[in-house]
Amino acid sequence: MTGDRLSARFAACKAQQRAALITFVTAGDPTVADAPAILDALVAGGADIIELGMPFTDPMADGPAIELANLRSLGSGTRTKDIFDLAAAFRQRHPDTPLVLMGYANTMLARGSDWFADQCKTAGIDGVICVDIPPEEDGEIGPALRASGVHPVRLATPTTDAARLPAVLEGASGFLYHVSVAGITGKQQAAQASIEQAVQRLKAATDLPVAVGFGVRGPEQAAAIGRIADGVVVGSAIVDIIGSHGDAAAPFVRDFVATLRGALNANSPLFRETAA
């Protein structure tokens, strides 16, 4: 799909014997004007894949950090068109870094799924995570995305039992996002043992790369998860930095992302040899 930047990036990380670093920021937080510098900082810090949140007035699956980011972005006037413009400009500057759009159905489908999928394709977006469209309602968005060559990325959670997992995997592509806690973004941290168990279960059921997110806040935890999963997602911790530093956040974001990436690199014998 679209030259498939996602599989290429996961394969490259695998070749380096480390997990992919997936970083989340809300598009247009704190403003659309500040956004390109923040996205560039993610790449400069070593992010492999960027998740770009589409701000929504009612982000029901998000904790306070990302909810505030949504309100900051919308408060500064971010519109859907701005988000696609940001993505398209990012694609020009970073031809190989995969972009995944994450958000809620109402903003994605406001002009219809075909319009949305077409905009994604044109802007060079590689995958879409729609938080409130479960497999049962795939028809709302899945067919349009697939027809445009954009991966519909699915979520698996601690409540996704064995009986349900096949339904989640049916039609999933790009990667599988394991939500490590039953809850909202950025709150609790899951026990490492339960994450390990879940990742093993998921990897036994699919060939898709498995990324783990929700509640991953720092380098140590990222490293621990990186030893078992194909990707580690960090969101709220980065969004908090943007919340604290506003339009001056870019260098702080870059430095923090670099510590995450360093922690994942340190899992790999290749990087340890280089360091020695």
Binding site: P59, Y104, T107, D132, L155, T159, A182
Partner: protein, 417 residues
């Protein structure tokens, strides 16, 4: 009349057979929730199906409605209101107005019908904790009430602004043993309390049951809330036959999420001679701030269902406004969206000012202080009744009593208390 349709062989076309297996009413409804909640929603659907087929469940529900809630409540002929409207109407005009007295239920509104049903389901699922969202506090009070009755732990999510505006109900909920959680996000009103209730639920799915207060949310909520509220329409059928020997010509009910309205309408949907009017809150008027999702919104996805929503062209939810906190919500139950699209029910906007006038008129003429929500339906009846012949019969759903609203009304009228 119901049987007429059945005997013409058009049973599959019954308007009472929605939703489909996936919870859709036409293109509306469905299950738009985070994956974490899906297994629970599917389990709830299973449990509800089993409960519906279990005579013991129905028996206990009926028993509580009779002995605890005080059902059946009266269908009252509002003679003085009817005559007052006839006095200003053309000769021969002025339909008879009956009031369905839901405000006489325990806790003062229709909300308790649904809360009893859902608490019974929670118990069947082995959940010992219940949560709910509330706007004005009526659903919060009803939920706290059944939680006390069933010995369940109860948390009520309420917008911080509403906590401030509705202090008596906040204290009532606390007396009943509930914890009231003020919600400080967003507009700090009903929709935000629903967001936070969902956030709490997704983090506590293993032991918590969410008692949704209106006929909205992910399937099977719109269906089961409607079924629990259908007692309203079923009683009206029996009572109007006793009073008039025939079905009514028109039903009128206020619509926020629309649970009292769908409960009133549903038993009559296949009776094509019974017209139905749902009354939306037009706030300051449709060109100003309002809460009329059908008149001023379009189809979208929020809080687990596809339905009409107040939103901008990007799909951002716009804030609703109504003088009635119970109607102050930017969406509507999905079955109403469907009934609107197929034209079976007419939806009529009524402004804050019109509702305020009817609030006072019904109090003075009939000695019944209606909830501001219900006053919207009374206002619609006042506009429609004089246009109909005097032998026509209208039933208005007096969904709640107005004690809770006296401070709001006094404030709007510039009266110092």
């Amino acid at each position: 009349m119901t049987d007429t349709l059945a005997h013409t062989g058009t049973l599959p076309n019954s308007l009472r057979s929605q939703p489909d297996a996936a919870g859709h009413f036409g293109t509306f409804g469905g299950r738009y929730v985070a994956e974490t909640l899906m297994p629970l929603i599917l389990e709830l659907e299973k449990v509800y199906k089993a409960a519906k087929a279990d005579p013991a469940f129905e028996e206990e529900y009926d028993h509580l409605l009779k002995h605890y809630v005080g059902r059946p409540n009266p269908l009252y002929y509002a003679g003085r209101l009817t005559e007052a409207l006839r006095a200003d109407a053309q000769p021969g005009k002025g339909a008879k107005i009956y009031l369905k007295r839901e405000e006489l239920n325990h806790t003062g509104a229709h909300k308790i019908n649904n809360c009893i049903g859902q608490a019974l389901l929670a118990r069947r699922m082995g959940k010992k904790k219940v949560i709910a969202e509330t706007g004005a506090g009526q659903h919060g009070v009803a939920t706290a009430t059944v939680a006390a009755l069933f010995g369940m732990e109860c948390k009520i999510f309420m917008g911080a602004k509403d906590v401030e505006r509705q202090k008596p109900n906040v204290f009532r909920m606390k007396l009943l043993g509930a914890e009231v959680v003020p919600v400080t996000s967003g507009s700090q009103t009903l929709k935000d309390s629903m967001n936070d209730a969902l956030r709490h639920w997704v983090s506590n799915v293993h032991d918590t049951f969410y008692i949704i207060g209106t006929a909205a949310g992910p399937h099977p909520y719109p269906e089961l809330v409607r079924d629990f509220q259908s007692i309203i329409g079923k009683e009206i059928r029996t009572q109007i036959m006793e009073a008039e020997g025939r079905l009514p010509d028109m039903l009128i009910a206020p619509v926020g999420g629309g649970s009292n309205a769908i409960g009133m309408f549903h038993p009559f949907l296949d009776d094509m001679d019974v017209a139905m009017v749902g009354v939306e809150a037009a706030g300051e008027g449709l060109h100003g701030r309002h809460a009329a999702s059908l008149a001023g919104g379009k189809s979208g996805i929020l809080h687990g269902n596809r339905t009409y929503l107040l939103q901008d062209e990007d799909g951002q939810i716009t804030e609703a406004h109504s003088i009635s906190a119970g109607l102050d919500y930017p969406g509507i139950g999905p079955e109403h969206s469907w009934l609107h699209e197929i034209g079976r029910v007419q939806y009529k906007p009524i402004t804050d000012d019109e509702a305020l006038a009817s609030f006072q008129k019904l109090s003075a003429l009939e000695g019944i202080i209606p909830a501001l929500e219900s006053a919207h339906a009374v206002a619609a009846a006042e506009q429609i009744a004089p246009t109909l012949d005097a032998d026509k019969v209208i039933v208005v759903n007096l969904s709640g009593r107005g004690d809770k609203d006296i401070f709001t009304v006094a404030d709007a009228l510039g009266v110092e208390m």
